[in-house]
Amino acid sequence: MEQAIYTPYDYLPIIVQFLAAAGFVAFAMGVTHLIGPKRHSKVKDEAWECGIPTVGNARTPISYKYFMTAILFVIFDIEIIFMYPWAVNFKVLGTEGFLQMITFMGLLMAGFVYVIKKGILKWE
């Protein structure tokens, strides 16, 4: 294997990208802050609660069902990450890749069925 020699200079593009990303965020936030119209009033400065007057502390226990839903969302969302490369290389991977993907999706599906049957997504 060829042993490449890296100098700090070679990392410049990464730094540039970092700066660009951070810069964009900073820029967007700064600009909206600066150019947006601002009207302060007592009502407006209150925490927004669907127009209902705020009650109690914001840091109250939240039903675990929120978290369960969120976690399940993440798990099923992540599967897409595996599907993209497969889709790109669909032809190259051929039947074997297809079968592997079927297995993967089958397992995921089994999980989904399990979740449904277990009643995790039932709100009450």
Binding site: L107, A110, Y114, K117
Partner: protein, 459 residues
Amino acid sequence: MTSIILLSVFGIINLFLGFLKSNKILLPAVIIFLAIVFGVNFLDWNNPQSHFNNMLTIDNFAVAFSAVMVLSLALILPFSRSYINSGNPHLAEFYSILMFSLVGAIMMVSYENIIMLFLGIEILSIAMYVMAGSHKKELRSNEAALKYLLMGSFATGILLFGFALIYGASGSFNIAEIASFSSNTTATDLLPMMEIGVLLVLVGICFKIGAAPFHFWTPDVYEGTPTLFTTYMSTVVKTAGIAAFYKLVWAVFPGLNEFWYPTLVAITVLTLVIGNIGAAIQTSFKRMMAYSSIAHAGYLLIALTSFNDYSENAVLFYALSYTVATVAAFGVLKLVSDQREGETYEMFNGLGRTNPLLAFAMTVAMCSLASIPLTGGFFAKFFIFGSAIEAGAVWLVVVAILMSAVSIYYYFRVVMAMYMKEPVGEKVAVDGFAAFMLIFLSIFTFIMGIFPGWFNNWL
């Protein structure tokens, strides 16, 4: 390899079996699954193969230790009757998690790539964090889970850092390549990096097997964890950890053995002393067993310090005999503590009168743990010490034997409580399956003690 796949599939099937109305089928089903896995596991005997681009190698070492661990789980589960009777809604999940964690354990003994070792450790550990907290309404169980998680993730971080340094130095995760790098250290200036990596990995694994001075979690976690899962922790997790450790030091870092040897010996001695002395002062039987498991990790570490014809078999034999005795001891504890409050020695008072079978099984287990001849535990220590003497570590054996004299004290305390005190309660109800298992475990212990030759030249 097949055993890993089968375990995963069976675990999933088992989850769905949990939706059936009656949970009575679960236990027989899991036992049958495990029996199948146990049998299939031996298909790879004398047929070493690499899988997944040299990620896993199933050789005789892996098969033998997998067999011991699958057997352990099959021996533990019959004591879960109280979960079935109380209609615990999560029973299927418990069984499945244990089966999934077994996959991690098997990966730990068959890794060919240290990434797989790490994955195996994590699969096993995360399952254990969950099981530690499986009694959600119990404060102690929650505390155990949280402690285990916090400390475990800390150790994981250290372990992973160690792996990263090793990778950085050697340029590979493959154990053969790391081994060849570490045995040719004169040619590189990356040695310090490698050495620190090795030390950190040592520390990480020592945490996982509960070796001193990284043992602090053990008593607290073992005590809070529901007994059934404590059994699993002190048998399967320990076996997997030691086997992985053995492979790590002798297959991955053999070239550096002059470097890690003193550290390992120091840890071994410390573990022996702290485990045995800690156990002697406990008033709770379960906590005593936690310290006892630390002590036994120490004896197993002795085998790790020697590498010769005997050591591999000695570790295997020790793991098997320790597992059998520990399962019996915890099994009796579970049965008794389900019906009498507490986990102290006093709870066993007069058990010899009310439940001769339980008392007998416990006595046999204690004798084996205390290494009384004609039980498996005697030869377990005999082989370990023999291999250490062969490697020239006489003084280490002296310490170990002295410490095992201390162990008589705390193991026989429960025996005395059972036979020499007045009973404190009614006869403890024992279901048929558990009774059968206890008889089986006792007989097995004796067989190991009388015909040790049947078990100690597999590898």
